[in-house]
Amino acid sequence: MFDVIIIGAGIIGATISRELSKYNLKTVILEKEFDVAMEATMANSAIVHSGHDPIPGTLKAKFNILGNRMYKQMSKELDIPYMECGGMVLATSDEELTLVKELYQRALENGLNKKEVILLSRDKILELEPNISDLVNGGLYLPTTAVTLPWEAAIANIENAMDNGVKLKLENKVLKIEKKEHFIVTTNKDVYEGKVLINATGIHGSNIANLVTKASFKTRARRGEYYVLDKDVTIANSVLYPVPTEKGKGVIITPQYHGNTLLGPTSEFVSFEDISKTTARGLEYIKNGSQKLLKNIPFHKVVRSFAGGRATSSNEDFIIEESAVPGFINVCGIESPGLTAAPAIAVYVVEEIVGKKLKMIKKDNYNPNRKPVVRTIEMTKDELNELYKIDKKYSKMICRCEKVTEGEIVDSINRNCGARSVVGVKNRSRAGSGRCQGGFCQSEVINILSRELKIDKRSVVYSKTGSEILIEKTKGEL
């Protein structure tokens, strides 16, 4: 019997699990995918928004501001990449300039102070962002905007939660939920019993809620497509937003922690099957949209394109509440600014909702820190040679584009919530994220996964069960 069952190991399930791990509760996370952070958390803009944009008074506005203020501390404790690059909303017409001024008022109303939101002239913007297009005629500066790595944020939260006792059950798709004295959750693999049940299933939110009782909301998948530019070109120093429209924040230009630039997203309602499909049309839209803000974007430096689905709820705000069924808590419709809001949502869910259902006592031995991640690319030669003395694997370079060593890959596999697939290794260590996209290092990564997981190379998967890469041996054993 668990005290709390969380369904969904995206950023929301992840932050909630870590928050729960501070207390003497037995918690389990059920995730249908092969790894954590595989859907919306995997494919988004990676921005820690300032809170300038949501409509005042909404949960989005409230938790965005609170979450933004928690991110730095969380990133420090969990060793999550975090870059305080600031952001700008750029107007490209007189109409948009009027909207920017309205946005300025909205930002103040949401609780940003006058140091956190500043109106800028074109000349001032040019000093900070020399590549802006000729159309840009003014904008807002948002210095508290930052950039993180969303999947690493989720992985780090779950790893830390597991270090503090939380269980993670992967490839457990929830099929049936019964409520008797407590919840009985049946998955394709097992049956789990729990006193409190938290639904953090993103785009699947209303489907899971309907297994308990008819949901008062519906979640839909809104697809966003993106382009990634190589890390050797810097086209923007801060996050560059267009003026938002009813459809969303528009095509954003985002410098990434590791030096790449992200262009996107599109915004389109699609079926669940199509959330990770890119389209020629979508990518064309991103090209056009991004060129409105910046000139000379080097599209020949594209290293990847991808798509992901945001969970949009029918009531247009976050849903964070106990449902009509006592103990069943929906944390649904957490689309943008959900990544930013996640740590604040987690505190609210645990302290204000779970705390009223269960007797919670803080643990004495709770460790808020994740074991630091070695990133050799950020180390000096002396530091590297110290590390070499401890483990020679840290001097064997596997990924030449991103300079990732065997030591880093082995570590990414052998942690709690460790990598079990080629994509899992890539998401945790960056091996294969560079310009050759794993062309050279994928075979080495397969060898390391095979050795560390003690499985045959033919059983090593690309991303999930059924995605094996090597299908047949052509030669006998040597």
């Binding site: 050797d232 990847r304 070499y388 030449r400 996209q437 069960t465 059924g466 995605s467 890469i469 299908i471």
Partner: protein, 418 residues
């Protein structure tokens, strides 16, 4: 800090030939740094034949071709380090590398030669629409899995792009028992050598779809289907989609010189070749740093890489003996009508003994045209050509005497004319 005369970054065909050539001309302290566990580079996975026809006048496989150079390297006692990845190159010719035997080491040299080769353009780079399942990989990666590691990646194969590695892998997969359903090329002509079209596709009845591209990848875990469409000037034509059930899509959509190290070092890159800008001595804009082979521009045949690298090696030995003239009388080579690029991009006339050779590629297919080499209005040379194609690298030789005849020559244009 340990000092060498020459550090060569990369122990593939270019690095090996350059090292041996320097050794032939002068006694030098040479070090080759190779990231792999063996010397030879990509040749090792190219187990088909067709290598060496120019250099050895016989037909060898890739490993055999490499072996000849490796054996000679051992005979001459030239130093090399395996499993050693160069992490950073500095303009003062210090090199940082790492391996498991020594850790992280910095060394210096009087000259550095860049011979890092190239990498394959990936699925990500060409923005293929659709899902991102497994089973989509570059032809070279599949070649390594098959020929080095001994694993097959699929049974029902489609190949996008008609680059030579794709064509070679079409045949190779058939020989290994797979079905190769077709090769698609977005251009109206093949990107690979004619001999590979014949020997790898036609001989095995593998269809080549010119002016076609993959417009959707379908598959949840592993690729299940692709949609192929006819294109009109790169734009897919609606209604022309054909579906193929596949478990593998191999990509052979271009090779890109591997210049991550060069760029960080401040070496100027030619956007046309994506390799360093060099002069007649294969020297980059940084004094004492040279480049040759596929890191400079992508070659059709390894024999050409060897020839180019020998020339670079000779130039480096002259550089070490201080026999290379200062860069004064520079002539700039300008690709004219129909020419995609020219290597070298600059020529110092004082370093030419009797002739200079240029390598170039054209932008599209031509029949019965002329290569015209001119400086301003002065026509230096005209070469008749029956057939030109982007897939076939062309060579033009100029005699020193032709250049000396023109006063104050600053630029040379090479162009295609009717």
């Amino acid at each position: 800090m340990k000092k060498y005369d020459v550090i060569i970054i990369g122990g593939g065909s270019a690095g090996l030939a350059a090292a041996l050539e320097i050794n032939k001309h002068r006694k030098s302290k040479i070090l080759i740094l190779e990231r792999d566990a063996e010397l030879g580079g990509i040749l090792l996975q190219c187990i088909h034949n067709g290598f060496g026809l120019k250099v050895f006048k016989e037909e060898l496989t890739g490993p055999e071709y490499a072996e000849r150079f490796i054996n000679e390297l051992h005979e001459k006692g030239i130093e090399y380090k395996l499993n050693s990845m160069v992490i950073k190159l500095h303009p003062n010719k210090t090199v940082e590398y790492a391996n498991v035997d020594e850790g992280f080491i910095t060394i210096g040299a009087k000259a550095v030669i860049l011979t890092m080769g190239c990498y394959e353009r990936s699925a990500g780079a060409i923005g293929l629409p659709g899902n991102r399942p497994s089973g989509v990989m570059t032809a070279g990666a599949a070649q390594k899995y098959l020929n080095i590691d001994g694993y097959l990646v699929g049974k029902n194969i489609f190949i996008l792009g008609s680059g030579d590695i794709g064509l070679i892998m079409a045949r190779r997969m058939v020989l290994e028992g797979a079905n190769v359903l077709g090769v698609a090329e977005i251009l109206p002509f093949s990107s690979g050598l004619k001999r590979n079209i014949v020997q790898c596709l036609e001989d095995y009845d593998i269809p080549l779809y010119l002016s076609h591209t993959v417009t959707e990848i379908i598959g949840k875990n592993k690729i299940e289907k692709i949609k192929l469409s006819k294109v009109d000037n790169f734009i897919p034509i609606p209604g022309t989609e054909i579906e193929f059930e596949v478990d593998t899509l191999l990509l052979s959509v271009g090779l890109i010189p591997e210049n991550g190290l060069s760029e960080v070092c401040g070496i100027k890159i030619d956007p046309r070749t994506k390799g360093p800008i060099v002069n007649e001595s294969y020297q980059t804009n940084i004094d004492g740093i040279f480049a040759c082979g596929n890191v400079l521009h992508v070659h059709d045949l390894v024999d050409f890489v060897t020839e180019e690298s020998r020339k670079a090696g000779l130039a480096v030995s002259k550089y070490l003996d201080k026999q290379l003239a200062e860069t004064k009388n520079m002539i700039e080579l300008i690709p004219g009508e129909g020419v995609a690029y020219i290597v070298p991009q600059h020529v110092n006339i004082d370093n030419i003994t009797d002739k200079v050779e240029f390598f170039l590629r054209v932008k599209k297919e031509y029949k019965d045209v002329n290569f015209v080499v001119r400086s301003g209005e002065n026509i230096i040379k005209t070469n008749k050509k029956r057939h030109l194609a982007p897939a076939e690298m062309e060579q033009i030789k100029l005699k020193l005497i032709d250049l000396e005849n023109i006063k104050d020559i600053k630029t040379i244009v090479i162009e295609v004319t009717k």
